[in-house]
Subunit: 222 residues, 2 copies
């Protein structure tokens, strides 16, 4: 067995953290709750954002930053919903960083927003190491990926405030141990809030929406 | 819209390519067909390898290199099947490189193998940039990830010899346009071989196994 550690240089992460702090204080100035959404490719980040927009449209003014290696498919969908959106194409980069987010913020009407979603690049490994200026980190783990993901990608589960277990509508067709999954996730992250949801059927979404609405209000009050 | 290009230094990729060539010529010396298997987390890399081992056990001598950020769960499963296996833990690294594979090769009985699977880290972005010494690149795209993945992660689809569309048993429960997916993939990669399969039910596996057996024989003959 061979183990090789690849470490991102501390200078890179340090510089990113400084920029992330600047983004956060800029967003704080507007009282915007900022959510960094991370997951594997195809776990449902865009579906979650679109479903949340539909439900909260009358209750909060939203904006979106879309991160993708290529294409503007997701931003186009959000744009069609009448929500301000900026697409970041990383052209091969496997995560967003605070510099990219700073540029994107310049393209958004921040004075008219209460809630900002930053959809990170689909990747369970690297996004976790880069702060963007977010208040909360929300990760999505989808049932078809399997219940062993927390063992294999522990850092992202450990560092997220909320884990959404998505695509629970597929449970009858999968071998997925929900209790085992919950136990592993809370073992890595005792403070995590876990919501089993289906963005497709709407099952479980109310608990997520309640949490989010309350977090938006809490941010405004500060 | 802001676009930022993050490029891995040419020196790093150049050094990796040299090492990959050395790995390849070492494996060629033994007449071993080497397959680099890439996919998102949870798309079915280990399931494919295990299912293939079961079917080809009497026809080819196999060995496996398992790449994961953390844990040795997958290597343990392969080991239980009586197949030589080495686990690489990247400790945060989001792809395998040729150096890691070289170390792993030192731990395998190459003189007793016809077919080597290298299971890359679950990631649709970075593994693609790093040659390991493989003969063929096989990627798995699983149906629940959605039919838009080739648009969003085009490089891996473009650079793979074979694309396995896995978890087709879930098709009745998903909105997945198979013809659209095939069209996009062949648009990116006209020479690609595409096999729709279910590692769970075995559907479609025969075509993949036939292709693989024939490739093993072809390599031995050279």
């Amino acid at each position: 067995m061979t183990v090789k550690v690849i470490t991102v240089g501390e200078d890179i992460l340090g510089a990113n953290e400084e920029k992330a702090k600047a983004n956060k204080s800029r967003l704080d100035g507007y009282g915007i709750l900022t959510i960094n959404i991370m997951s594997s490719p195809g776990a449902g980040k865009t579906s979650l954002i679109m479903s949340t927009i539909k439900s909260l449209k009358e209750k909060a003014r939203m904006a979106v930053i879309e991160g993708d290696v290529a294409s503007s498919m997701d931003a186009d969908k959000i744009n069609e919903m009448g929500i301000p959106v900026v697409q970041i194409n990383t052209a091969g980069g496997c995560h967003l960083d605070a510099n990219m987010v700073e540029s994107a913020l310049n393209g958004l009407p921040l004075e008219k927003a209460d809630l900002l979603f930053i959809e990170n690049v689909g990747n369970l490994i690297c996004p976790n190491a880069f702060l963007l200026g977010e208040d909360k980190r929300v990760m999505i783990s989808s049932m078809p990926e399997g219940d062993d993901k927390p063992y294999k990608y522990p850092a992202m589960f450990a560092d997220s405030d909320v884990v959404l277990l998505n695509k629970i509508d597929l449970q009858p067709h999968l071998d997925f141990n929900v209790d085992g999954f919950k136990k592993t996730v809370t073992g890595l992250n005792p403070d995590v809030i876990l919501f089993p949801v289906s963005c497709k059927t709407g099952e479980g979404m109310e608990a997520w929406l309640d949490w989010l609405e309350s977090a938006v209000k809490g941010k405004k009050k500060r």
